[in-house]
């Protein structure tokens, strides 16, 4: 094996993820670095199902299913109990974009503000996929979902969750995707080393049924998200210090990301949407480069 990714597995096969599930793959890759001294807290999300029906489950670590809005705070509570037991078990709050951007945001903000010693992972498939593809505040502008149909696609830009998290000044936050497994693995390692405070990973996870792509294109579509700069890969330390961890060269035209997915059909009908998306991507990248550049400067007091 020539990948700097551990061989050890902490997810048993027999999971109920759809064919080509980016969320299932993300869990597999994250746990490879976290190891088995860990507990996962799952609010309502695809993974509530993927882990398997009672009385079986797939993760080789304990899983605590909890209410939609509570992933971060339940994880913080379990961590407190573990600390009380004298254990340094890693507690992972593992939530989708609905449980992070929307419904779980207050608990997440509270835990981040208290700098709870948990690893919060948001696997973001950009809509409520588990319940039938309803839009969330992570759904990009112009996207088709069952609640934002083709003739009336998502009107608002995607919420900047990394900006919200950075504003809490937690020790470590990063974006990642399974299409770049070594980058993802390294960020999980860095998050594990930053234990003692709150760590946040924003993982883009393709959803073939919800994104309307062939299952075998799941990795390709995530790769194109990165190569087109739609989903930049970067880290934020202490909420201020930004590092871009991958600069695509050459940059893929955004059309090649959009065109691969049926959910972006409204873009085909409205060139203005494409132009707006390109502008957002370019602005975002320029801003990130500024932050990256600024972070390289010696600290001024």
């Amino acid at each position: 094996m020539r990948w700097a990714v551990p061989e050890a597995e902490f997810v048993d096969p027999g999971t109920l993820g759809c064919q080509g599930c980016g969320g299932a793959l993300s869990m597999r890759l994250v746990l490879k670095e976290v190891g088995d001294d860990a507990i996962a807290v799952l609010p309502a999300c695809c993974w509530s199902i993927i882990d398997g029906p009672w009385p079986t489950h797939a993760l080789r670590i304990p899983v605590f299913h909890t209410a939609f809005e509570t992933a971060a705070v339940v994880a913080a509570g379990i961590k407190a109990a573990k600390r009380r037991q004298g254990r340094d078990t890693t507690v992972i709050a593992w939530a989708g974009d609905g449980g992070t951007f929307d419904i779980g945001l207050q608990a997440l903000s509270g835990a981040a503000e208290r700098n709870e010693d948990i690893l919060y992972v948001c696997y973001d498939n950009e809509a409520y996929m588990n319940t039938g593809i309803q839009r969330s505040s992570a759904t990009p502008r112009g996207t088709w979902t069952t609640t934002t149909p083709d003739e009336n696609p998502e009107p608002r830009i995607k919420k900047d969750i990394m900006g919200i998290i950075a504003a809490h000044r937690i020790p470590y936050a990063a974006t990642a995707t399974a299409a770049y497994p070594e980058d993802l693995a390294r960020k999980v390692r860095t998050a594990m080393e930053a234990r003692g405070g709150m760590r946040f990973l924003h993982i883009l996870a393709a959803c073939p049924p919800g994104w309307k792509v062939a299952a075998d294109q799941a990795i390709e579509v995530m790769r194109r998200a990165v190569r087109s700069r739609v989903f930049p890969l970067y880290e934020v330390r202490d909420g201020r210090h930004y590092t871009i961890t991958y600069r695509p060269e050459p940059v893929l035209p955004i059309e090649e990301y959009l065109g691969l997915q049926g959910r972006f059909a409204p873009f085909g009908a409205d060139p203005a949407l494409v132009a707006a998306a390109r502008r957002e991507v370019d602005d975002r990248w320029a801003w990130l480069e500024e932050q990256h550049e600024r972070s390289l400067q010696p600290a001024t007091t």
Binding site: R2, P13, G14, T15, G52, T56, A58, V63, A214, E220
Partner: protein, 584 residues
């Protein structure tokens, strides 16, 4: 953990104690199945000898050099030789270049390194002795290759060579700076070590005749090459020097002084070799060729080297006569223009009537070589007096085969090696042995639209470093360093051959690919058939098979119309490579 027997045994808070591994066999969901197959790589297909490049590159990476040499020697026993002089059509076929625009993998440099690194290892040894004897006439690349494969088949082999020393064109026509004779010596020594007998200084037609070989030998392979220089056919022919003879004695020819004005007539490999040797000896040299660079039959790379050496080219220039003048040899040339394509597919040069005169001190003729068929008996020749040769080199006498330049006219070393091997394969069959040697790799090859270069190395292509030598005819390049080979190996996508890179294992969303010591194993109990492993495999060494149609590998079912696997299977259509063989 095992599931408890009864619901009542579970605590009040529902707890899952069993694993989905035992309870949920997601393999049931699948309509298509990934299958690991060995498919033909474009480099192997482009190689005249069919060397399985991805396989030997993989073995080098694993540090198993003796096995890498063995894989190489299945098709070509002389990586040290072809690693130096081959025009590497393998690299022209490289999918990395076609799919990405990157430079192709430097296969020849790796091959040369492998040859040098394994120079002290004996070549793969013969099968059980057969008590058959086979004669090989000629010890150029075709003869040597045939001798090797016949010997490996267990036969006793005697090679007859008319010159005092074996090696043929390898030794006498290819200049020392491209292929040192020490390398040829060493390769022949390895053949001697295998038990191949060399009889030198005996010439067919002069010292012995074909029918004299019959009583002692079960079969004969004729590989006497194309070593008769074709005349230019102009007035003053006697004033020309033979390029071929010059190459043979180049190391000893002290007549070329600094600044001596030389011309070479021709555009083939001999012409360029002569021109480059003259440059090395300090002379000025102009190549006179009746067509243009485009149509030149010489190896492309050699042309670029010649230009770099300072060889001057006069295109569309046809010599009409040579005569002795006061200032030197006066060559009258006519300017040509290109007309319609001729039988060779190249545009035919046509005279324009415009004539001029050029002056040189020496003029070499190198307009091609032909075979000498005078030593062959009449029953093997056609009406024109040439040896009549069928597929695989068979002649009218079923125990006499022929191959190499003798049959094809001047060609490459690798083509001669391939011909020698093919003849040995057929002779072995004629001697009553079942197919012991694989035939050439077949279509379809893995295409550039099938590979996934996303994970490729960003390293730049390596090349053989220039040698610094005081000897003008000393080898001009060095063998690359082992470190450079290791970097170069990472650039190979390993088309059609699993080299255990681990991409499928890392990216399987369902953990349905196990990693075992020597590579990935697909767990069909759980594989959902998403196809990610197939499209992400850098070299497409996996294909999807439709479950309904079952494992049919004759290529008749499920193959897409172009005979290749297709990257997309969203409609559940089965795809399978023709001639694919199941490995897993």
């Amino acid at each position: 953990m095992t599931p408890l027997d009864h619901v009542d045994d579970y605590p009040e808070i529902p707890v899952s104690l069993g694993s989905t591994r035992a309870a949920i066999k997601t393999g049931d969901w699948r309509s298509v199945r990934p299958v690991e197959v060995d498919r033909t790589a474009p480099c192997a297909f482009a190689c005249p000898a069919g060397v399985d490049v991805p396989r030997y590159l993989d073995l080098i990476r694993l540090g198993r050099l003796d096995e890498a040499l063995a894989v190489f020697a299945e098709r070509n026993p002389f990586p040290r030789i072809t690693g130096r002089v081959c025009p590497h059509s393998c690299e022209d076929g490289c999918n990395l270049a076609a799919a990405t625009g990157d430079d192709p993998v430097a296969i020849r440099s790796i091959e040369r390194w492998l040859g040098d690194a394994t120079a002290q290892i004996p070549l793969p040894q013969p099968f059980e002795a057969t008590r058959r004897r086979v004669a090989v006439v000629g010890s150029g690349p075709a003869g040597l290759a045939a001798a090797y494969y016949l010997r490996r088949s267990g036969h006793r082999v005697t090679v007859y060579e008319r010159r005092p020393i074996a090696g043929g064109m390898l030794r006498h026509a290819i200049p020392e700076y491209r292929l040192p004779s020490a390398v040829v010596d060493a390769e022949i020594a390895r053949l001697v070590d295998m038990g191949i007998e060399f009889v030198t200084g005996v010439e067919l037609g002069r010292d012995f005749h074909l029918d004299e070989l019959a009583p002692e030998h079960s079969a004969v392979f004729l590989a006497t090459g194309a070593c008769r220089a074709r005349p230019v056919g102009i007035t003053g022919e006697h004033l020309l020097d033979s390029g071929l003879e010059f190459l043979e004695t180049a190391g000893l020819d002290l007549s070329i002084g600094r600044g001596m004005r030389c011309a070479v007539i021709g555009g083939g490999n001999t012409a360029l070799d002569v021109a480059r040797v003259v440059r090395r000896l300090g002379g000025e040299v102009t190549v006179l060729y009746r067509r243009t660079a485009e149509e030149m039959p010489a190896i492309r790379e050699e042309y670029h080297h010649a230009v770099a050496d300072g060889v001057v080219f006069e295109w569309l220039t046809l010599p009409r006569s040579v005569e002795k003048g006061e200032a030197g040899l006066v060559v009258t040339v006519e300017e040509m223009r290109l007309g319609k394509p001729d039988g060779s597919g190249r545009r035919r040069p046509e005279p324009t009537g415009r004539v001029r005169q050029l002056i040189f001190d020496r003029v070499f003729s190198a307009v091609g070589e032909t075979a000498d068929s005078t030593p062959f008996p009449a029953n093997l020749k056609n009406a024109e007096g040439w040896l009549e040769v069928g597929p695989g080199g068979a002649t009218a006498d079923e125990m006499v085969h022929a191959g190499g330049d003798l049959v094809t006219g001047p060609a490459t070393v690798v083509a001669a090696i391939a011909a020698g091997r093919e003849a040995a394969r057929l002779i072995d069959r004629r001697l009553g042995f079942s197919d012991r040697w694989a035939s050439m790799p077949h279509q379809p090859v893995v295409g550039p639209d099938e590979v996934n270069p996303s994970y490729r190395s960003s390293a730049r292509r390596t090349s053989d470093p220039k040698a610094r030598t005081v000897d003008p005819l000393g080898e001009e390049t060095l063998t690359v360093a082992a470190e450079a080979v290791l970097v170069e190996l990472e650039r190979c996508l390993s088309c059609g051959h699993c080299n255990a890179c681990g991409t499928c294992f890392v990216l399987c969303p369902d953990g349905a690919i196990r990693w075992e010591e020597d590579g990935p194993v697909i767990d069909l109990e759980f594989c959902k058939g998403c196809g990610i492993c197939v499209v992400e495999c850098p070299g497409r060494a996996l294909v999807l098979v439709n479950e309904r149609e079952g494992p049919s590998f004759d290529g008749t079912s499920g193959a897409s119309s172009d005979g290749r696997t297709s990257g997309r299977h969203g409609n559940g259509e089965a795809v399978l490579s023709k001639g694919g063989q199941v490995n897993a």
